[in-house]
Structure formats: C-alpha cells, structure tokens
Amino acid sequence: MSTAPIIIGSMVPLTGTSANDGREFRNGLSMAIDEVNARGGILGRRLEAEFVDTGNQSAVEVVRAARQLIHQHRASAIINGYNIGPQNAEYEPIADAGIIYIHHNTLVQHHDTVASDPTRYFGCFMGDPAEYWYGQGFIKFLSWLRDSHRWRPRNRRVAIISGPKPYSIVIANAMAVSAPKFGWELPIAPQIHPTNADWREALEKIRVHDPAIVAMTHFHAGDLARFHLQFMEKPLPSLLYLQYGALHSAFSEITGEKARGVITCTVIGLPRDEIGKKFAANYRARFGPLSTPEIGCQPYSSLHHYAIAAAVAGGTGEPGNGEINRRIAKALIDIPYRSVVGMIHYHPTWQAAVPYPDATQDPSLGIPHLFYQLRSPGESPALIAPEPYIEQPFELPPWL
C-alpha cells in the first residue's frame, strides 16, 4: 500500500468579499487534518492539504480551482466551506474524476443535481442542509413564537426582502411558499434587490403594508449592517430577521447596540454543548481570540467524517479511482457522525445533511437549525430555539 500523503484539496475564498470566512475554512480544515494525522492518518497514510483561492467565487474561478486540485495536485477529496456562485458547475470536473467532494454551499440545487444523475454525482456531498430550510424553518420558528405565546404578533403579515444571489432568492421563495401554510400572509411578493441598493427605498415600499415581520434574506455581513442601520433610522413596528451574516462579528462591530433584538439563525453552527464549547476553546487557543470557530467548524467536521468513512472503506482514491471512492460515499451515508456541529446524517437521496427540527423530529439525527437573538455588544447572541438547545428566552426588540 502507498505511503505517500493523501492530498485533500480545498477551494477557499482567501481573497475577495468572503476572505474572512475563507481563512476560517482553511483554519478548520488544517486543524482537523492535524488531528487525524496525530492519530496516525487514514490507515497509516498522512493527510496533506492543498488550498486554492477562489477569489470572488464565480463559476470560472471555482471550476478552475477544482481542475487544478484534480489534475495538478491529484487530490483524493475536495473538502471546503462554501463558494457562492459556481451553481454546481464544479461538480462536472469532480464527477469526471470520480473523487469525493464535501462542501457547505447550502444550496437546494445540490439536491436537484444529485437527483438528476445519482451514479455520476455519487461523490458530491453537502455537509450542511440546503438554504431552503432557512425559509421553511424561519416560518416554523415564527409560528412557534406565536403559538407558544412568547410573542403576540400585531397581524399575520410577513414582508420579505432578498438579495440577488440564488441563496437569498431561494430562502425568500421558501418563506413565501411556507408562510400561508402556517397562517401567515404575504401582502407583497418577495422584493429582490441588488446588493448596493439604498435599503431605505425597499423599507418604505414595505412600510405601507404594515408587516408584523420583516425578513431580510441577503447574507453579506456588511450589506446587512448597512440595511440594519437604515432600518433603525425609522424602525418599522415589526420583528426583524436578518440572514446568517448578522452572526458575524463584522455586523456587530458596525451596528453596535442597535443590533440588540435582531433575530438571526444558521443551519450549521456550534451548539453550546460540551463538544461545541471544547472545540471553540481549542480553535481560539490555536487561531487567536478573534477567530471564528462557528465558521471553521464546517470543513473541520466534514474532514473528520471523511477520514472515518475512508478508513471503513479501506482507503482513499485518487482521481480515476472511482471504485474505492464509491465505497467511501456509501460509508458517509451509512455512518452518521456526531461532529462538533451536531449529527451529520446524510439523506441517502439528497446526499445532504438532514436538519433538525426542519426535516427530522429527532435531535440526535440532524444538524440543529439554531436561532439566535442578538444582544448588546460584548454579549454572545442568545440561543433562543429550538428545544433542546435553548439557552435564553426570546425578548421583545427594543424598538417594539
């Protein structure tokens, strides 16, 4: 058996608008590789990471990165965080090479691509749930607040604002589809805006409909901060939901105390349990107090899951060795892994992690969809749903 190192490729945005996240993805993968190597690697073979910068994460950049990792570095697997933009175009060279690819793109189109040809895309996995669940889960969360009398909405109206990316549009669509099923109304169709929009205009457009909830599904922390500051100039008497980016420190640094009361969430984060806290402490000890284990945890978890599956399958396969990689893919599905983000339990058809409580009622069989409410600067966001992960109660935002 070969003793050469196993190459793990990683396509990470080390420059461009998502460079902060890209660095965390690199950190998370490096940390996991070091831990696996410290245990003796995979069946005695060490792992070695190769990172390729995906810059602005366009389809061209990401496909080029995949080809480089396959042809130049002979990567046996590609494991990374997210790349917004390639729209699964990178699946083609990866499927041609027959290697394992685990990403965290959070895209429902992954389901469609895999379902369109499961034999070809056997190795493509999404280590987190699709963004669709953000939409459906948020509507359930609102309904839970209402039905458990934690919050009494003034009316049933929900206004949705979206950014231009597929991710934001899908979440907005999912909210729009789910809302009526749970007793909510959309007085106006989701509004799709460019990222550099003057949000005041968008807010005035929905103000006339007097919504009880405003949901913003665009995700860049900087854009969200600008949106929020403009919202706070003349707050609507509504609950305010801001997509995932509001959890970033960059958002809090810009918005300060004004962010208190904002609802946000993630379909992949760090539960504040023993495993999550220990990982966060180790991560910060290694990468500094300003590092973000909540983001680095994604490729960290998936690398560990891959290492277990490869060991069970009997080894790893370079490009062209589809047989062993098919065994690894089967092991990834057959063996759920309790990672630092919760249980990674791949749906056998979707080849994507199943979310709790959105798609399973069993918290031991899904990655928790964690809902937070932002508090004052210096305070951690309050984890307010779902059970059994709740740490603090929901509170009415100061502007209500």
Binding site: Q87, A89, D112, W144, A174
Partner: protein
C-alpha cells in the same frame, strides 16, 4: 396412628390425602344443602379459607364470595335457580373460569367437582366472535350487494341511454349535452365505487394510519378546491375558515373523513350555507362542519353512522348515496382515535365535529414531499419561452426547466410569430433560443421580433452547435449570451441567474 397399622385405616388415610391434594376443587354438600366439607383447591378457587365456606348453602356461598370480590360472576344452565352448583360456570376475579359438576351421594347430598375450563372457554369465545364477525361480514356483504345493485344500476341505465343519445345526436350541442350528462353519471359511479372500496378496506382491516404532525390548513385549502364548484352549482355558500394550528393525525384519512362530512353537508342542504371551522378545546382542535340543511332528528343521531343507513330511501335515491359516507367517517375516526360527533335537529341544520390532537409546530411538515428546486428553487414560478426546432432537444430542455420550477411555453410556427405570441399561456421572463431554427431563421432575429410583440420585452440566451468563430462573434456582437451545445445544466443555470438577477455579472460568464 401410623398409616400402615391397619388396611382400613391405611385406605381412609390415602383417600384423605388424595382429597387434600386433588388439583380440582371438591366440595361435599349435606342433604339439607349445606357445605359439609371442601378441599383446599375448592376454597382456593373462591380465594377464601375453607372454614369460611363450610356451613353455607350454594346461594350463600356465591353471595359471600362475590362480596369478597373473589368471584366476579357465574352462569347457571338455562338460568336455573341457584340451588346446586351443577352445570354452573364460575368466573373468578383472577380470570379463571371453573365448570362445576355434581354427583349425588348414596346417603343423600352431593359432591361438587370444580374443573378449570379457562382455556377451553377462551377458545370457544374466540370461535363465537369469529363466527359473529363472519356472519356480520356476510350480512354486510349482502346489504352491500343489494345496495350496490340498486344504486349503481341507476347511473348505469342513464349511461346506456346517454350513449345512445350521443350516437344519434345530429347537433353538436346535443352531443355535448349528452356527453356532459355522461360525465356526471360516470362521476356518480366513481364516487359510489370509491365509497364501496373504502368500506371493503375497512372490513378487511387493511387501513393502517400513518400519523404525523401537519398544518390543518393544508386539508382546509384542499377541501375548498374540492367542493367550491359543487357548492356553487347548488347555489350554496361554502365557507371554510382558515386555521393556523398544527394537528397530529393521518393527513389522508383525516381528509377523507372531512371530505365525507362536507360532501354530506352539501348533499343534504338545499338552501343556505356550509361552514367549516376550527376551535381550540384545550389540547384538542375541534374541526366542525355545519350546514343549514334538513337536519337529523335526535332518534337518528346514532343510527346515521351505521353502514348503509338512510333516513329515507327517497332521499338517498335522489342523492345517489349508498349511505356509507358517515359510516366510513366514523370507522376512520375510530382507527385514528378521534371523537366524531353530531348536534342537530330536524329542519334546523346539522353540525358534525371531529376532535383532533393539536401538534407541535416544529414537527409540522416532516411528511412533505422531498424538497427540490421545483418547490423552492431560485427560478420557481418564472416563465421561459423555448425556441428549439429539434423535438428531442426541446423536450430535454423543457424537462430540465420544469425540474427547476419554471413554467415553459414554446412556439413551433416561426412563420406566424404574432399569432403564436397571442396564444401563449404566459408572459415569459426569459427566452432560450436555438441560433438556427429550421435551418433558415436566426434565433437572434426572432428574439427581436418577439420582444416587439411581447407586453414586456425579456432577455434571451442563444444556443448553438455551430462553433465557427464568425458565428460566435456575430451572436456576441448582438449582445446575446451564448451557450455551445450540448448545453450543460450548470452553465445554463449560471447564465440564466445572471441575466435575470445580476446582469452586472454577465461579463464573468464561463
């Protein structure tokens, strides 16, 4: 005295030992009917000490042991007076059933022997139950066949007449009318057969509920769609009040129950309205179906849930009903453990209700079909106009776009575009065109013509298998994004996204 001392003493001692250790209960009654002796098994059968029983007559013994709670009851043969135990079945508190047989003693009096017949009795009862069930099923089947024969004959007879009318009709209008009437007859037969099939499944015990948490609004919306037309045709006001709560039930079976109730309400209401609404009762949601119909007299309240029950035959005939709807609703409710009830007075309408447990909203929707782009993708709900003359390729593209949740419209007649545009089913948001259509029409030219005709001009993508540099340059020069055939889905996705949502990124196309 040692038992070996004399043969007589030896014999009597053996008999005494045998009596004491006999597994069956044995009691000796005096000439005057009092218990003189009983062995320990006899006393144990009644769960009391021997001394408590000696001296009692049969009637006193039964009374005493019932008071003690050790005897639940007894059955005497043909209801004979309780003077002897003979022929009785004694039902003990521990579940055993004992059979008593008496033998007369030469000196007068009698011996009672108690035998445990629990197992035999159970088998016999199971046989009786099975026989009763079979008889009931047989009777039900006979009723079923009678009713089916009667009720299916009527639409079938109509159908025969209508087929004939249709064959001989001279005018198109007459034929259409006959066809419409045939459609009605067929749908009546379909409903009747559907109800009979449900009953068949229930009789066979083949219905297994699949209980999940879901939003009751999902069923209410479908009821509205299902019955709006029927109610409108009858001039009734069908109002279904929305509810936001989650319930725990079998979605399909609960919908079947409610649709039976709503169908019944519409059938038996001539004027006024049918109202469906929900009210919270603690941890239960009461779903109510009320009407302003003929109502049900109190003496029929229980009976209307019986199989094939009809308040009056004339009514049923007029409504093409087998009298199965409420029976199906009640039997399905029993399977689900839901309470089904009725409040009604003759001539004052009816209110049927079913109580269903309220569910946890977090658990709601787990049984939904698998999520896909068709439901929530970024292109869901948008419309694409596809211009492609290769039938196989066109179908492949349509299938792909529909999987992404888009509606697709096409034009086949490129020579009469204005006419084709006026008959399009939707206003397109984007156009996807082949470069060379039928070898002579350029897709780029056609897009220009179309955009002049459409209410709202829309962006277009051009596909071509012609990789000649001058062709590519020409298409690009006209400002169209270009995809080389065979078109890969990811490339199409990227171009469509950018064109529709982020035109600024068009320069980055692969």
């Amino acid at each position: 005295m040692a038992i070996t001392e004399s043969p007589e003493g030896d014999q009597s001692s053996h008999e005494a030992t045998a009596l004491r250790h006999l597994q069956q209960g044995l009691g000796i009654w005096s000439v005057s009917g009092q218990l003189e002796y009983c062995n320990s098994a006899f006393a144990a059968s009644f769960g009391v000490p021997q001394s408590a029983l000696v001296g009692l007559n049969v009637s006193e013994l039964l009374e005493f042991t019932k008071r003690q709670g050790t005897l639940i009851g007894f059955e005497s043969p043909n209801g004979a007076p309780v003077l002897r135990l003979h022929g009785m079945l004694l039902i003990c508190a521990d579940g055993r059933v004992l059979s008593a047989i008496d033998s007369a003693l030469p000196s007068g009096g009698a011996i009672s022997l108690l035998t445990d017949v629990t197992e035999a009795r159970r088998n016999s009862m199971a046989l009786v139950q099975a026989r009763d069930k079979a008889t009931a099923a047989d009777q039900s089947k006979s009723r079923f066949l009678r009713a089916a024969n009667h009720d299916l004959r009527q639409p079938l007879a109509s159908l025969k007449i209508l087929v004939y009318s249709c064959l001989v009709a001279d005018k198109e209008a007459d034929r259409k009318q006959a066809l419409h009437a045939m459609e009605v007859s067929v749908s009546i037969m379909e409903d009747l057969l559907g109800a009979l099939l449900n009953i068949g499944q229930l009789d066979a015990g083949k219905i297994e509920p699949s209980v999940a948490t879901f939003q009751i609004s999902a069923i209410l919306t479908r009821l509205q769609v299902q019955f709006a037309h029927q109610a409108r045709e009858k001039g009734l006001d069908l109002r279904i009040i929305p509810s936001k709560l989650a319930v725990v039930s079998d979605r399909v079976l609960l919908e079947r129950i409610l649709s039976n109730l709503v169908s019944n309400a519409i059938n038996y209401t001539e004027v006024g309205r049918v109202l469906v609404g929900c009210r919270r009762h603690g941890r239960l949601l009461r779903i109510m179906v009320g009407d302003t119909g003929i109502g049900v007299a109190p003496e029929h309240h229980d009976a209307i849930f019986a199989e094939f029950y009809r308040v009056s035959d004339t009514q049923a005939q007029a409504r093409h009903s087998l009298g199965l709807g409420l029976n199906i609703a009640q039997r399905l409710s029993a399977i689900l453990g839901h309470t089904l009830g009725l409040t009604s007075e003759l001539g004052r309408g009816s209110l049927f209700f079913i109580d269903v447990p309220i569910g946890n909203v977090w658990h709601s929707g787990g049984d939904e079909p698998e999520i896909s782009e068709r439901i929530g993708g970024e292109f869901a709900g948008l419309c694409c106009l596809v211009l492609e003359d290769d039938r196989i390729l066109r179908e492949a593209i349509i299938s792909l776009l529909e999987r992404w949740g888009m509606t697709v419209v096409t034009i086949d007649d490129f020579d009469h575009v204005a006419e084709a545009v006026s008959t399009l089913d939707g206003q397109p948001d984007i156009i996807l065109t082949d470069y060379r259509l039928r070898g002579r029409i350029q897709g780029t030219d056609l897009v220009g013509t179309l955009n002049d005709l459409l209410d709202k001009p829309c962006p277009a993508i051009v596909m071509t298998a012609d990789t000649a540099p001058e062709v590519i340059a020409s298409i690009r020069a006209q400002g169209f994004p270009l995809l080389i055939k065979p078109v890969s889905p990811p490339s199409l996705r990227v171009v469509m996204h950018n064109l529709l949502f982020e035109p600024g990124l068009m320069a980055e196309l692969p």
